[in-house]
């Protein structure tokens, strides 16, 4: 009970409900033209159901309490029913409203907005179909029992049922709209207001014409009604239905309608009128619900599309789409920002859009290969993956990893291509730096091994030399002593000879050193070794402004070599050639590398320069012979040792008109095997 008290509605609402109920009864009375039936459409039913649907069940007793006096007052005013019969009828009405509201609330989501087809159907079937059964049964029984109105139960029941149903179908939606949007702002734009007004006028005109008999039948009202339902959904349908009911009522009351007539046909027409209104209301409500559902779906779709697009623009990846034929159809915002222009709009006469786009944004060196790969993918449907350079808005080309996958429909046909571009510039740079560092390291190792070798040779020669000097001084002292110590002088002289011999042994020891490393040899292609050395020395050569021409016979037979030693020989010969170029101030700064097959089983490699040439082509191979300042004179001697340890020959010849050619031969593996 406390709950019921605490849920009491505002007095104003109750008063308005009372007034509306009485007005509804008056409207019903005005339409009750069939003699003896007293009622046709029953608007209070709709009002009652809508009120209860929207209010809490605990407040229902209050509405029922207020509805009772309103109906009894109306009955006393218009129908003059006896009090018991009136009470019984009201009980039926109240029961109908409560049952309808309860069923609808149970079935639909709260608050009830009748926004989808399911809710509308539930409302129509439960509130407008089943609930009136109660009131029709109770009301018809009351009428039959009353006896005064001379109506049989079975004659009154259908009219009662259809009257209530129509009342609920027409009034309840409107009531729901009004109750729910009482405080909400009208969200209609000016254009929509104009449309609403035009629609209202058309509806009025059509209704007036059709109901006054100028148009052949009343259903001509359907198009404007459905238009309202489609465009203005539930609200449009509700308002239009009320308008329609009002027009019908006015015409019926004024007798201008096609419905009035003799008693039996009037009864028939009454039913027709009610059916007409009921069918109109049903159609309008269903169409409104469908329209609402459609709009909702559209909104949801747009929202999800917007979210998807935002996501696509937000992810740190450049995304693009191609049509099945390869026409660019979409670039995400990030990609457009990257280009600094919307490349999708690029058009060049005589070129496909794809080709024009590629020409505009891809590095010229990569464009052809990219087109080829992309077209291949478009033809075959294979995934596309390629690395290329893409021009940024500031004109800088950055390395991109481009990938694309086709999207296929259910039949496996390609519908569209989705692609993305990943910026891999930094990665490429890092790789480049790494490779450069590796090259540098390799070069340093080679340079170090030769200079280390030189240092160790220097030490090897210096040590006996120092001993010789010191011993020579001792020898002189023994000889110049008084008396000369010939015995000791002889010993020292022998030591001097011994140490001098050991110094001259150094070179033969170097030879021995190189021939000892024979086990490190593996078959290799000299062309490859030469290319490798050129790569290693590329920086140095570029720095010294020297151009290298190569004439390398492809697929030379393999030779068994110590790769590192062979690299050292080549580095040494190339450096000598470059140094030789420095001795002449003019002429082309070019050296020429040749690797050819000399006979069946010999490979011949030449390093040719256009320097000043050498005066003594044989002496330069002697240890410690050097023409360079600061040179050790060991480079060519070591080179010759290495080549000879490979069973080859190294020599130098003068070029005409100038320069020197250093050439060496190496046996091929075939000869080794023979």
């Amino acid at each position: 009970m406390m709950r019921i008290w605490s849920h009491r509605p505002q007095v104003l609402h109750l008063a308005l409900f009372f007034a509306a109920y009485v007005l509804g009864c008056g409207f019903a009375k005005a339409l009750a033209i069939v003699p003896g039936t007293n009622i046709s459409i029953w608007p209070p039913g709709g009002l009652f159901v809508a009120t209860l649907i929207l209010s809490s069940p605990y407040s229902w007793p209050w509405w029922v309490l207020v509805g009772g006096p309103a109906e009894l007052f109306s009955q006393a005013l218009w129908w003059h029913s006896p009090l018991p019969a009136g009470l019984l009828m009201y009980a039926g009405n109240a029961l109908e409203a409560a049952a309808g509201a309860w069923l609808v609330n149970r079935t639909c989501r709260r608050p009830v907005r009748l926004e989808n087809l399911q809710e509308v159907l539930a409302f129509v079937v439960l509130a407008a179909g089943i609930a009136p059964v109660i009131s029709a049964t109770v009301g018809s029984a009351a009428l039959a029992w009353d006896g005064e109105s001379a109506q049989t139960f079975w004659a009154a029941w259908p009219l009662w049922w259809i009257g209530d149903a129509t009342g609920i179908l027409i009034i309840a939606p409107l009531a729901l709209v009004i109750f729910q949007n009482w405080r909400g702002k009208a969200e209609l734009s000016a254009a929509r207001w104009i449309e609403a007004c035009v629609l209202g006028l058309i509806l009025l005109a059509v209704a007036a014409l059709s109901l006054s008999g100028y148009l052949p039948f009343a259903y001509i009202i359907m198009p404007p009604l459905l238009w309202a339902a489609v465009r203005f959904e539930f609200r449009g349908a509700a308002v239009t239905l009320i308008l329609l009911a009002l027009i019908t009522a006015i015409f019926t009351i004024s007798g201008a309608s096609q419905f009035p007539g003799d008693a039996e046909s009037q009864r028939q027409k009454q039913i027709m009128l009610q059916l007409f209104l009921a069918v109109s209301a049903l159609s309008a409500l269903i169409v409104a619900a469908l329209s609402r559902q459609y709009q909702q779906a559209l909104l949801t779709l747009r929202e999800s599309e917007r979210q998807l697009r935002e996501m696509i623009d937000a992810v740190p990846v450049n995304i693009w789409c191609l049509t099945r034929e390869g026409t660019p159809s979409y670039f995400n915002k990030r990609l457009i920002d990257y280009f600094g222009q919307d490349v999708a709009d690029i058009q060049t006469p005589g070129m496909s859009r794809l080709a024009a786009t590629i020409k505009a944004v891809v590095h010229p060196d990569d464009a052809e290969a990219l087109s080829e790969r992309l077209n291949e993918s478009l033809m075959t449907g294979k995934s596309f993956s390629f690395r290329y350079r893409l021009r940024r808005y500031d004109g800088i080309h950055r390395w991109i990893e481009g990938r694309a996958e086709p999207m296929r429909n259910r039949d496996g046909e390609i519908v569209q291509w989705y692609g993305l571009c990943l910026d891999i510039e930094d990665e490429i740079r890092t790789q480049g730096a790494l490779r450069a560092a590796q090259d540098k390291l390799a070069r340093a190792t080679q340079v170090a091994s030769l200079s280390e070798l030189s240092a160790s040779i220097a030490h090897e020669v210096n040590q006996p030399l120092a001993a010789i000097v010191a011993t020579s001084h001792a020898c002189r002292r023994w000889l110049s002593a008084e008396p000369p110590n010939l015995e000791r002088a002889k010993i020292t002289l022998e030591r001097i000879i011994r140490d001098a011999n050991s110094a001259s042994d150094v070179v033969s020891r170097i030879r021995a050193l190189f021939s000892q490393t024979g086990q490190a040899r593996s078959p290799a292609d000299m062309t490859e070794v030469i290319s490798e050395v050129c790569r290693l020395m590329a920086n140095e050569l570029a720095m010294r402004n020297v151009h290298v021409e190569t004439e390398l016979t492809e697929s030379l037979p393999p030779t068994l070599i110590d790769r590192v030693q062979m690299q050292q020989v080549l580095v040494n010969l190339i450096r000598n050639a470059v140094d030789a170029l420095d001795t002449t101030g003019d002429g082309a700064r070019a050296i020429r590398l040749r690797a050819v097959l000399d006979g069946d089983d010999t490979i011949r490699v030449e390093v040719r320069d256009v320097g000043a040439g050498v005066k003594e082509p044989e002496r330069i191979f002697e240890p410690f012979f050097t023409t360079k300042q600061g040179g050790m004179g060991m480079g060519l001697a070591i080179c010759r040792s290495i080549i000879e340890s490979h069973d080859g020959r190294l020599w130098a010849t003068d070029n005409k008109p100038r320069g020197t050619t250093f050439a060496f031969t190496l046996p091929t593996r075939a000869r080794d095997a023979a």
């Binding site: 240092a455 220097a458 030490h459 210096n462 040590q463 006996p464 030399l465 120092a466 001993a467 010789i468 000097v469 010191a470 011993t471 001084h473 001792a474 020898c475 002292r477 023994w478 002593a481 110590n485 000791r488 010993i491 020292t492 030591r495 011994r498 140490d499 050991s502």
Partner: protein
């Protein structure tokens, strides 16, 4: 300088160099002992003579410069370095750490002999210094505890009166102690005593100026 006066140690891993150096030094009339490694030299019982160490930089067991660092705090003879390929940074480092010379092989006889001479001379002076110091230490040790208290006060320049007051003894007694100290330390004058005290690192603890300690 006589042959018995000093000895030359040679450390070189190359036997030819060891032989040549020994031969040369012998021909000059000097005594030389040669070692193949730093370890051999260090484990050798050195005679109590002025000496010089000829050290090859490139040794098999350890770098010559590191040997120099290791023996810096022992009573080792001055070092003359020999190297196959001398570079400026290592020669600077060697000289800075007290090496007499840094010779690049092959070197002239003159350069080597001069370097050895100056090294030996330096060692001889150092040895004399060390010997004097040890005698003085012995003399210092012969002082009585009271005399050892008086010595710092006297060499600090305090008047007899002040020193006596400091120790709470009469001026006459202090004068007796002072005379004893002069005798025992074999100092000719107060100035001589002060010099000796300085070498023995006796701290100057007092000042004649009144008010400060």
């Amino acid at each position: 300088m006589k042959a018995e006066d000093f000895i030359v140690f040679v450390v070189d891993d190359d036997p030819r160099m060891r032989e040549a150096l020994s031969e040369l030094l012998e021909s000059v009339g000097w005594r030389a002992i040669a070692f193949g490694s730093a370890g051999e030299y260090l484990s050798h019982q050195r005679p109590n003579l002025a000496a010089c160490l000829i050290l090859d930089v490139e040794l098999p067991d350890i770098n010559g410069l590191d040997v120099q660092k290791q023996i810096a705090h022992g009573d080792h003879p001055p070092i003359v370095f020999l190297t196959g390929h001398g570079d400026i940074p290592s020669s600077v480092r060697a000289i800075k750490h007290g090496a007499v010379d840094f010779l690049t092989k092959p070197f002239t006889e003159e350069a080597l002999l001069n370097a050895i001479r100056s090294a030996v001379e330096r060692d001889w002076l150092a040895r004399r210094e060390r010997a004097e110091l040890s005698i003085r230490r012995q003399r210092l040790a012969s002082l009585t505890p009271r005399e050892r208290e008086v010595l710092p006060l006297v060499v600090s320049g305090l008047l007899n009166k002040q020193a006596a007051a400091e120790l709470g003894i009469s001026e006459v007694t202090l004068q007796i102690h002072r005379r004893k100290i002069m005798q025992k330390m074999e100092a000719d004058s107060l100035a001589d005593l002060v010099r000796i005290a300085e070498k023995l690192e006796i701290p100057i603890t007092h000042s004649r100026r009144a008010g400060s300690t």
